[in-house]
């Protein structure tokens, strides 16, 4: 099913606001991971405003779709999307990383309703998502389970343990999205420990694999449409650019956790106006 142009335009606008909000948070906290916030903003906007079924006033609703943010360090983008979706007041975003804030640098299930599991250490999200999907499979529940990982994160072995379990159990209610921005903290993934051929790896583990432009909202909506589900888990490799939306941050490892100075922040906000 092709998404309506109106929905695509709305999500594109929300992604722009998520990028602005995340950069504002990183700038004020003088900490954060702007490169990944910007690469994942479109994926998060599509999930929260075009795909996931949830009620922010009832975040423990057993019937809700689950979203697990495995790349927990990109919390600026996640919290911005969650606030926009109504999980907490947008004013609270200003407390990011401040003492006693619910908005820890890495999302905490103990602090913030709507966070399905605490993340931060990499390779934790997919096993948890697999567990939720198994619960749904046992119960014949209608909810879907989504998990977003980074691409460098694919180097964590726990992902492949979980990949085997999901493939073996044919968890068709499970969708993994990989934010394939090709950069990890220190360098390019392929210069660190190569991931390619990534799609073949996931296929070999028993998953359906699709590759999309991770900044194309229409493509993301289309690939996440329930009509596309098969009798196996789905891995979406979303090709993205680290720092997408801010010219001087694009495709550079140094913006993994770089913090913009005042002039850079002003320039970035101008580009995202």
């Amino acid at each position: 099913m092709t998404a309506s142009p109106n929905l695509v335009a709305e999500i594109r606008e929300r992604a722009r606001l998520i990028r602005r909000s995340a950069l504002q948070m990183v700038y004020e906290a003088k900490l954060g991971h702007p490169g990944g916030d910007l690469s994942s903003a479109d994926i998060l906007a599509v999930l929260y405003f075009g795909v996931l079924h949830f009620d922010p006033k009832n975040p423990k609703d057993p019937k809700r779709d689950r979203f697990v943010m495995s790349k927990g360090h990109c919390s600026g983008a996640l919290y911005s999307a969650m606030a926009m979706a109504g999980f907490f007041p947008a004013a609270e975003l200003a407390t990011y990383m401040k003492p006693l804030s619910r908005l820890n640098a890495h999302p905490s299930r103990a602090y913030l309703p709507g966070v399905e599991t605490s993340t931060g250490p990499l390779g934790h999200g997919l096993p948890v998502a697999v567990g939720i999907a198994i619960a749904g499979q046992i119960d014949g529940a209608g909810y879907r389970v989504f998990v977003l990982t980074g691409d460098g994160e694919q180097q964590e072995g726990s992902n492949w343990e979980a990949a085997m379990t999901a493939g073996h159990r044919k968890l068709k209610n499970l969708t993994l999205i990989i934010d394939r921005n090709r950069l990890q903290q220190g360098a390019r993934t392929e210069d660190t420990v190569a991931l390619e051929p990534l799609a073949d790896k996931w296929r070999a583990f028993g998953w359906e694999v699709a590759e999309v432009d991770g900044h194309d909202q229409a493509q993301l909506l289309d690939v996440l449409d329930p009509d596309r589900l098969r009798d196996k888990p789905l891995c979406v490799i979303a090709h993205t650019v680290k720092g997408q939306g801010v010219s001087f941050m694009r495709d550079q490892a140094k913006w993994h956790h770089g913090v913009p100075d005042a002039a850079q922040f002003a320039q970035a906000m101008k580009e995202l106006a």
């Binding site: 605490s118 250490p121 934790h124 619960a135 749904g136 726990s158 085997m164 379990t165």
Partner: protein, 315 residues
């Protein structure tokens, strides 16, 4: 006559399995998660009765803990059963982030803990498990000493919300003389009264502490014997009362660092300093059978009694 000589010896996994199945009959949320450890956890009966509620993730402990956290998120009540050494050590960060920090409603059942694997050596010994978990502060650790305490511990953690670790031994232990007060998380049980010295033990060591108390009684020393199944949270009142005897011996099938002895010492150092002896293992152990290792490290009734005499002689 020793306590063990007066009773049939039991593998506590049997009481665990019977209790879990009884609970599962009434609570559909209960699922079992294993790492190819159906036989070693004695959940074959469960698997036969409820195959769809038995989730075997294969030999993949990190995944196993994450999957359990996810099952709890999906409304299930997971009991994760595997050899304690791998269940804790191999997946420690998952236990920390996915269970303890995330407050997931998951119950870890560590099988064949301590040195139950004997000759298999330090890779398979689990003498660090509840020490690692205890320091997190937000996952409770129970170390039952016989079939009754094992069954009670399993019932208690099933009824309590949040992450728990229960250490289940396969080493033969006798039935112990329990009072009728019932089992409570965070509460110790005094199995023998005494005012001259206190023996605080858990798990497979409790019956040996009772034997030690009998030896000491023959010498005119009245030893109090406390079963401290709840290492985290510790029964602080019971420990502070024990300190009034003037000497506390802790006995555990665990490293002497950071376990029951460590927990008792932390409390006593701050609130009621008294002489202590901590019996347990010093670190990685040499090759040897279970009984040889126990003898070698003084985890015997005579070894416990000797530690108690030392404390008395210091006064």
């Amino acid at each position: 006559m020793t306590v063990a000589a007066q009773s049939k010896l039991h593998d506590c996994r049997d009481a665990f399995a019977v209790t879990l199945e009884a609970l599962a009959e009434k609570d559909e949320r209960i699922v079992v998660v294993v790492n190819d450890s159906i036989g070693s956890s004695k959940v074959g009966g469960f698997a036969k009765r409820w195959p769809e509620r038995l989730i075997n993730v294969g030999i993949a402990e990190q995944n196993m803990i994450g999957v359990a956290a996810g099952l709890a998120n999906g409304g299930k009540l997971p009991f994760v059963c595997g050899a304690a050494c791998f269940l804790t050590g191999r997946a420690l960060e998952q236990v920390k982030a996915d269970l303890a920090y995330s407050r997931a409603n998951v119950k870890l059942c560590g099988m064949a803990a301590g040195i139950a694997y004997g000759e298999l050596g330090p890779t398979h010994h689990s003498i660090e498990d509840y020490g690692w978990l205890r320091v997190m502060g937000s996952i409770s650790a129970l170390v039952p000493s016989d079939p009754w305490e094992t069954a009670e511990a399993i019932k208690a953690v099933a009824a309590a919300e949040g992450p728990y670790f229960v250490r289940i031994s396969r080493m033969g232990v006798p039935d112990l003389p329990h009072s009728s007060r019932g089992f409570q998380i965070g509460k110790a049980e005094i199995l023998r009264e005494g005012k001259d010295v206190a023996l605080i033990a858990n798990g497979t060591m409790v019956h040996l502490a009772l034997d030690a108390a009998a030896i000491l009684a023959g010498e005119g020393i009245q030893a109090r014997v406390i079963s401290m199944a709840s290492v985290m949270p510790l029964d602080e009142a019971a420990v502070l009362d024990a300190a009034e005897t003037g000497g506390v011996v802790t006995v555990e099938e665990h490293s002497v660092r950071g376990g029951l002895g460590g927990a008792v010492a932390e409390l006593l150092a701050a609130k009621a300093p008294c002489r202590m002896r901590m019996l347990g293992f010093p670190g990685f152990l040499p090759t040897g059978s279970v009984s040889w290792l126990m003898q070698h490290y003084g985890l015997t009734a005579e070894g416990i009694a000797a530690a108690a005499r030392e404390l008395r002689d210091l006064r």
